[in-house]
Subunit: 295 residues, 2 copies
């Protein structure tokens, strides 16, 4: 069995159909030290129980996924979204306390797309900034970092109007770095001609809340949301991106988050094992102080 | 019958399965004044014949589509591509002469994706710049403007490593504006948080070779290449983009270029009529000196 990189964190979405107990067990059993959780499986058992299960697992907690979806104009739906984001902040804070030492209280935010019938992407983007402004005091009080995630521009209209790391940083710039940062996910930003300077800027401004890795490959599947692959199975240059992140001084855990129907259909223990192997091959060699995995 | 906007040009890809004779006929019959052609249907009848047919149609010629695809490393395939691009330049020059007064000699360039097995998008982008450097003298001698087309980032790995208008302008900056410009296509750039300043810059630097319009709508079809729609049928804000282009002083024809399996399957005369109607509704109101179409 090869050595598992101690900085690898399994994002629970990679084993979407595993319940919380299974996700924690297969991750720990694989010798992986950290996990990022999703709200739905946590809520399925209740936050208090989830926190106790996390503590028992001995795993570090890396991110809580995900909140956001606040591009709609003022009204009951927006109020409901803001309220739900506050709940998510509290969940992230509780899980970070429950995780092993080195856990981080990070809430990933996906902004949301254009409201139904709207063509005003500029206005939607302004409402993202406004929403984060509303949430920032609560996040600060809870000790949670809001991690704005730019999504690939193919999702700009229906899922996330924040499309580049630079744009996420422009929004974050209004807030303290410990309160609002960015999610740096290779899949969403590898194509950006400005990706390396944007990562350097994110580091300089103290905004890299989390670094997430998975790969891009074409042709895209019918549901483009599910077009994420194991690191190394596609065309993303993990060397340049990972070195750029490391060069900023980022030294925390790195999540693998894969949405892929075939991977979801596989045995979660096998998926976790395969993820560790893929990470070791594609990402580990580019980490500071990287060790050569031994057999 | 409503008035057809005199600046509307039908890009032949919108009626992909029409041969050149049909494309010219249905366009002229609809009262449209201009057309952008594709290389394959032109080559099907031969350049000399195509030029004569274009002259007979009385239509202005707006762009020649398309060349490029020169991201591969040095070798026979790259030489072959460069040679073919030179042929395309000559075709564009001949067709511009054959078209009605006001025709423009513009060759649209799609850069190409990552070579098979490569993860080096930075290197591929450098090779685009090198290729345009090789082609620029021939284009200048022929009086043709090379119009670098940034494609939506969902095509960055397999079709076009030029992903933003800003990136296209950075490449073009090494060359004279009359020799190398950019294609401004709403579908590919509407999502860009920097799109309006990029259009302003493109105008200021004299680089808007052609303005093309079609719409974006989700869910994307299985082949994302075919996800283009009639202006007004999706979520693109043609008001802000069109006004930004107009504000630069751009006053030439505007192409509608739609790749869409349903539209391709329809009667080309009906597609052209519907395109004129869609253009009149979504784009015409935002043109300088726009007239209100009358019944």
């Amino acid at each position: 069995m090869s050595v598992v990189d101690p900085r690898l964190s399994i994002n629970q979405a990679t084993i979407k159909y595993a319940d919380l107990a299974t996700a924690l067990r297969v991750t720990a059993d694989a010798g992986i030290e950290a996990i990022g959780l999703w709200r739905e499986p946590v809520q399925e058992v209740g936050l208090t129980t989830a926190a106790a299960m996390l503590t028992d697992s001995g795993l570090r907690f890396t991110t809580h996924c995900r909140a956001g979806f606040f591009t709609m104009p003022e009204g009951p739906a927006r109020r409901s979204s803001i309220d739900d984001n506050r709940v998510a902040i509290d969940e992230a804070a509780a899980l970070a306390v429950a995780g092993a030492p080195g856990s981080t209280a990070i809430l990933v935010l996906v902004a949301g797309g254009l409201p139904e019938g709207s063509r005003d992407i500029v206005g939607a983007r302004e409402r993202v900034r406004d929403a984060i402004g509303e949430l920032a005091p609560h996040a600060k009080a809870a000790g949670v970092t809001l991690a704005i995630e730019p999504l690939h521009p193919m999702f700009a209209s229906d899922r996330c109007v924040v499309s580049t790391l630079g744009q996420a940083l422009d929004i974050a710039a209004d807030f303290e770095p410990e309160v609002v940062g960015a999610t740096v996910d290779t899949f969403h930003i590898f194509w950006d001609p400005d990706v390396l300077p944007a990562i350097e800027r994110a580091g300089r401004e103290g905004r890299i809340a989390t670094y997430q890795v998975c790969d891009w490959r074409t042709p895209l599947p019918e549901d483009v949301l599910l077009s994420r692959h194991y690191p190394g199975d596609g065309v993303i240059d993990f060397a340049s991106l990972t070195r750029a992140v490391e060069a900023t001084g980022y030294d925390r855990d790195i999540e693998v988050e894969i949405f892929n129907a075939d991977i979801w259909a596989a045995d979660p223990a096998e998926v976790v094992r395969r993820t560790a192997e893929a990470f070791g091959g594609a990402v580990t060699p580019h980490l500071s102080g990287a060790r050569t995995p031994t057999a």
